[in-house]
Symmetry: C2
Amino acid sequence: MPDHILVSEIFGPTIQGEGALAGRLSHFIRTFGCSYRCTWCDSLFAVDPSESPKAQRLAPEAIVAKIQALDRPAPWITITGGDPVDWDLTAVVMPLGIDHKIAVETQGALWQDWLEYCHLITVSPKPPSSGMADRLDPPVLQKYYARLRARMCLKIVCFTAADLDFAQRIHRFLPDVPMYLSAGTDIEHKAATAAALAHHYRWLAEEVITRPFLANTTILPQLHVLMWGQERGR
Amino acid sequence: MPDHILVSEIFGPTIQGEGALAGRLSHFIRTFGCSYRCTWCDSLFAVDPSESPKAQRLAPEAIVAKIQALDRPAPWITITGGDPVDWDLTAVVMPLGIDHKIAVETQGALWQDWLEYCHLITVSPKPPSSGMADRLDPPVLQKYYARLRARMCLKIVCFTAADLDFAQRIHRFLPDVPMYLSAGTDIEHKAATAAALAHHYRWLAEEVITRPFLANTTILPQLHVLMWGQERGR
């Protein structure tokens, strides 16, 4: 068992802004550290090594205690990052999974057996606009599919037409896994406005409508950004 | 069999903006006529008798043909209104249900046996801000539950705290039916801005977070309004 985990933030309840649980109340655990450096990463504070001194070093029991101390209920706990699959979270998900459903968000580059104790795993391969598309590892993705198929979904954050081409290839690779296309938020504009978000979401929807191969996907904006801009801890 | 149905519009594919299929591609059939007059109705053109001359009188086969003539695919067909349960749509849903999944949106005041041939029924009881809350008919709601339980969800459009009290009562009445809370759009402001929508959505989310009894609901904005404002046929 690890003696500590680097954690960027623990908060909740708030509204899950993306994917299969969009609009659902969830607590969040954001672990620190990620093997990717996406150009548009919206959580660099949980990724960049220079930020690691600000992360908390917590034992698994301390993470569990912090969630249990949150004063309002949520049916879900979402473990995100960074990439939470960097860490051994067995001693976090086992106790928390008794009273909550556990969702995990990962880019799908790594594997941990504790994923099998969770209720929903959102795998988010990074498309060309991230600069990380060449890191896609089909055998790891296939392992997710083989072990987690019934509780797995795919989420692709899309900024460009090339990102949609990438989403189509992933959808062809795993056609029976529900796919969510998420209109990305341009981090260059820290005060992402609702109007800019609406405009990009409209672009994504109109693009998908012209691509019959993507007709069975779900197209969503980032609801947390719509509500709260890019505030931390919301 | 009826020889015609009054139809306000048939269009698609577009993005379903609310409820369990939010973000999914769907064609739409909007029937004309409704026994309610909600103060904030966003489809008065499909409700107000003065608009009926503009509705098309279509035989069921003609409705089916118009959907089949749409030039791009969508997995779902959503039948909305007005209140589609005003009409005998058996000869519409039977053939269309072969190649599509059929979703129906109704306030749940009426019943038709053809509902049992559909794949998702969204019942939308109208809260106090609509002026129609006293029309709620629990025995009809119970009939929906008895006959459609596994493919039924509830959607409450919310403008006020009293609307959330109403949603809580409905949720207590049918606790195992998935409930979607939708941030209503103020039709007084025809050019509903993304910023106004975001503000109202944030209000709804923050209100729900303080109400543990609603923690298991899903809270969404109206995505079609975010994308397209209040354009028709989108």
